[in-house]
């Protein structure tokens, strides 16, 4: 038995003993189960399996550490009311915020961070990674790392615009339907049903082949596809609010619909809408990446994570993992956004009490 294996089990057992001593039952259970699982993994997988487990644990610990530090950082920066909210936030949510912040910085400062331009051919096709090119080159000899950085700007930016537009249409429609009711409600509802009844990918492929694949068209088409979902949620949330007595009081005062929507309903519907925004953003992001992968989304030479996966797909058959990096970037952002959304849902649903 190597020193590594001995040390590995010694650390685990010592940690679980400490947890038991301090009466932390869940922590103890976790550690002890991990010890047992490691024993099994070690038996069948040998030292490499244990090394893999250690690596995974180290990555997790690093993420948790970053999240913890980031939480303190945010609490100090914002202070006051926000500080208390943040102190109660789960680490996953903070991790999500951290990832989003990193992506945002990458997107905003892309030309400064990236060593090369997104369309700049700097090397031979599929050149391996070296000191200048952190992740090697793609099929045309462009720097992968630079393209991923620029991809943050293009993919995320377009997804954000499309989601904002979808929310503008959907939320406005939902609020008007809830306040007015009757014929207008039915009319908007049926339009939404019609849009929802067409499979979204087919619909967007159709629209994009008719109107061309400019960024404006992509944003509008995606917004139209996703606005019915927002509409249905907004209408349901607002429907619960318009039956409240304070809405009746405002109506009896003679207030117009716009005041009702703006001052009486919207402040009470913000929390679920913000949570939904995060969720929809993920779907929109994935749809746009999917469209790019199929060649109808963001057009070359603009760097985009979806199309980057397709362009470099051939590498996978040679056992290279590079094409999976843009895919991982997509996955990481989706997970991060979902962490934050979960936290917001938890806050708005009153589960905390």
């Amino acid at each position: 038995m190597s020193h590594f294996v001995l040390g590995y089990f010694a650390v685990l057992i010592a940690a679980s003993c400490l947890a038991a001593y301090f009466g932390r039952r869940p922590v103890f259970m976790l550690l002890f189960v991990l010890t047992l699982a490691s024993a099994l993994a070690g038996l069948f997988g040998g030292v490499p399996a244990l090394r893999f487990l250690t690596g995974a644990a180290a990555v997790l610990a690093l993420a948790a550490g970053i999240s913890y530090a980031f939480r303190e950082f945010l609490a100090i920066v914002f202070g006051g009311e926000a500080e208390r909210e943040l102190k109660n936030a789960p680490l996953t949510a903070i991790f999500g915020l951290f990832v989003i912040a990193v992506y945002a910085i990458a997107a905003v400062f892309a030309p400064i961070i990236a060593p090369f331009g997104q369309a700049e051919v700097v090397s031979s096709a599929f050149a391996p990674a070296d000191a200048h090119m952190l992740l090697g080159a793609d099929q045309l000899g462009r720097d992968m790392f630079s393209r991923i950085i620029f991809g943050a700007r293009n993919s995320v930016g377009i997804a954000l615009m499309a989601t904002l537009l979808a929310f503008f249409f959907g939320a406005l429609g939902g609020l008007i339907a809830a306040v007015r009711g009757g014929v207008i409600d039915t009319l908007i509802g049926r339009i939404a049903d019609v849009i929802m009844s067409v499979p979204s990918l087919i619909f967007s492929l159709l629209m994009l082949s008719i109107f061309g694949t400019s960024i404006v068209v992509i944003v509008i088409v995606v917004a139209v596809i996703y606005s019915p979902r927002v509409f249905r949620l907004t209408r349901a949330v607002a429907g619960n609010i318009v039956v409240m007595d304070y809405i009746e009081a405002a109506r009896l005062r003679g207030e117009g619909d716009w005041y009702l929507i703006r001052r009486e309903i919207l402040p009470n519907a913000t929390a679920p809408l913000v949570a939904e925004f995060g969720l929809e953003f993920c779907f929109v992001f994935l749809l746009i990446s999917g469209l790019s992968f199929l060649g109808l989304g963001i057009q070359p030479p603009t760097a985009d994570w979806g199309s980057m996966v397709r362009e470099n797909a051939t590498l996978i058959s040679f056992g290279e993992l590079t094409p999976l990096i843009p895919a991982a970037a997509i996955a990481l952002l989706t997970v991060a956004v979902n962490f934050v959304v979960d936290w917001m849902l938890w806050r708005s649903s009153g589960l905390k009490e």
Binding site: D245, A249, A250, L252, R253, E264
Partner: protein, 549 residues
């Protein structure tokens, strides 16, 4: 041990803490309680006194965010605070049962009543399913539910509120528990329905010699039910005595103040006889929701500076009348005159000034105030909307209104409604109505969700405002004590019709219309023998029918 034999429940120095923002605060400060077999103990106090918390602790239970931090709860020789969850689970439902305030919210709407009834006895293997159903029907019969053989096979929404409350009491009885905790079981019911439920609960507790803790804020109710009464205030015991002694000779000031609440009564004002037109005149209105007719030939007048109380059970059309006056439900027939001129039936057709004149105060201040707007904006909006006030003028007006409702302007101006207590919220509701400078205000059950002391404060405030501003009130209520306190004239409604109306003093003197008589005689009195006497008078078996006259 032998000495303890007839003691069923003994709570010693019970302390309960609740969590607020990471900090634990004690909300029950060392309460002692002893309950013998077959005895009924009344717990009484305002909201926040810890009544329900103590009631739940008697089952060894603490709500989410609460914990039992000290003391002991001993049930039949078993210590509940240290028992395992599974031991407690075996106790609850079989030996200790709980009847909640809202039966409608406590029954699962997706299952039939009897299926929910038999769940506990079958699960605890006390009875087989068929036996349990048979037993349920017998219990329904004892509780005088109509059609005891069939009513259990209905869904909860298919029976009335009072029947559901009795079905829930029957369900609590399913395992013949030693102890039942009743948590305000009649608070949400009409006075006429309350009688049925009270009588049913008392009978069944008597018959099975069950011990009970009866939690309520209504003294008159607890006087009928309990052998002993314990008064609580802010998690501390004020005093405890047998019911007779407590009613005759309360020792503590706080208890006396509770007893005195119902004494607020105002002189009745006569109608002005100088030819003043009524501020609101409702003439022969009919109204319907779809095809269901809910109002028929309703007429009454409200004169300036006077209060007209509209009374009746739920479903009698009181609130619908208010909706007709405000224009939310345009009447199918008839007219509504304001100062002698006819108003358009629907509120959308009314002018801004017509809308301003009629304001409304709601029962539930929680839903009547937008939780995301600051008090300053809630009150300021009508002043800005109707009066066009801006900036400093608006701020001054809001401060003036806050002063009028006896709240400190600097403290409340920028707070949100959820930060306020129930009584404060209701005051904000009043201020919002006043901000429009109306001549007529509809008060829809404004005090029924409040504690008695707080409710009295609101009534006094409304009375003072009426004197200062010459307002006319339409006061919708089912509580006759409120009517006695504040009304000048009374309108009695039943099934969408006005059955009797007139000045208050006449209405409280016989002879009455039979329905008025039923309403009046159903209001619980402080006399512990009142219920017994009333049931005898009506004939015990007719309680159910009497309420349906």
């Amino acid at each position: 041990m032998a000495k303890n034999k007839d003691v069923l429940l003994r709570i010693r120095d019970l302390r309960i803490e609740a969590q607020t923002d990471d900090e634990w605060q004690e909300i029950v400060h060392g309460v002692n309680l002893t309950l013998h077999r077959g005895e009924v103990l009344g717990l009484i106090g305002e909201s926040g006194a810890g009544k329900s918390t103590i009631g739940l602790a008697a089952m060894g239970f603490a709500r989410d965010g609460c914990r039992i931090s000290g003391g002991s709860v001993e049930f039949d020789g078993m210590e509940l605070t240290t028992s395992s969850p599974s031991a407690l689970r075996a106790l609850r439902g079989s030996r200790i049962a709980y009847v909640a305030q809202s039966a409608a919210a406590s029954f699962n709407p997706a299952h039939k009543i009897i299926d929910q009834h038999v769940e506990a006895p079958v699960m605890y293997r006390i009875r087989k399913r068929a036996e349990a159903q048979e037993d349920a029907m017998q219990l329904y019969e004892r509780l005088r539910l109509p059609n005891p053989q069939e009513i259990g096979f209905r869904y909860p929404h298919q029976v009335s509120g009072g029947q559901l409350q009795r079905a829930m009491t029957a369900m609590a009885m399913a395992c013949r528990p030693d102890l039942i905790i009743f948590d305000e079981p009649t608070t949400a019911l009409d006075v006429t329905t309350q009688i049925e439920v009270l009588a049913a609960i008392r009978d069944i507790v008597d018959q099975f010699d069950t011990a009970a803790i009866y939690i309520t804020h209504d003294l008159a109710v607890v006087a009928q039910m309990a052998d002993r009464i314990k008064v609580l205030l802010k998690g501390e015991e004020i005093e405890e005595a047998s019911t007779e002694k407590m009613l005759e000779d309360p020792q503590e000031d706080y208890t006396r103040s509770l007893w005195a609440v119902r004494s607020f009564e105002r002189q009745q004002k006569p109608r002005p006889d100088d030819g003043t037109k009524p501020v609101v005149s409702v003439q022969d209105i009919d109204a319907a929701y779809g095809d269901t007719k809910v109002l028929e030939d309703v007429s009454f007048d409200i004169y300036p500076g006077m209060t007209v109380a509209v009374v009746g059970e739920s479903g009698s059309g009181k609130s619908t009348t208010a909706r007709c006056i405000t224009g939310l439900l345009p009447p199918a027939k008839g007219r509504i005159l304001f100062d002698g001129t006819e108003m358009p039936p629907a509120f959308r057709q009314r002018s801004k000034d017509q809308l301003r004149q009629v304001q409304m105060i709601y029962q539930m201040a929680d839903t009547a105030l937008n939780p995301r707007l600051r008090i300053g904006e809630i009150i300021g909006r009508p002043a800005r909307f109707y009066g066009g006030l801006r900036g400093v003028k608006l701020k001054n007006r809001v401060d003036e209104l806050l002063g009028l409702i006896e709240l400190e302007p600097s403290k409340f101006y920028s707070r949100f409604p959820p930060e306020l207590s129930g009584g404060q919220k209701q005051r904000i509701g009043i201020a919002r109505a006043l901000a429009a400078e109306p001549r007529f205000i509809i008060c829809d059950e404004v005090t029924s969700a409040l504690d008695q002391l707080v409710a009295e404060g609101i009534l006094k405030l409304l009375d003072r405002l009426q004197k200062e501003l010459g307002l006319a009130y339409m006061f919708i209520t089912h509580d006759l004590a409120t009517v006695r306190a504040i009304a000048d004239e009374v309108v009695v409604m039943q099934r969408g019709r006005v059955v009797e109306q007139g000045p208050k003093d006449e209405m409280f003197q016989p002879p009455h219309h039979p329905y008025t008589d039923l309403l009046l005689s159903s209001v619980p009195e402080m006399d512990p023998n009142w219920l017994t006497a009333l049931l005898e008078e009506r004939g015990v078996d007719n309680v159910g029918e009497a309420a349906k006259v």
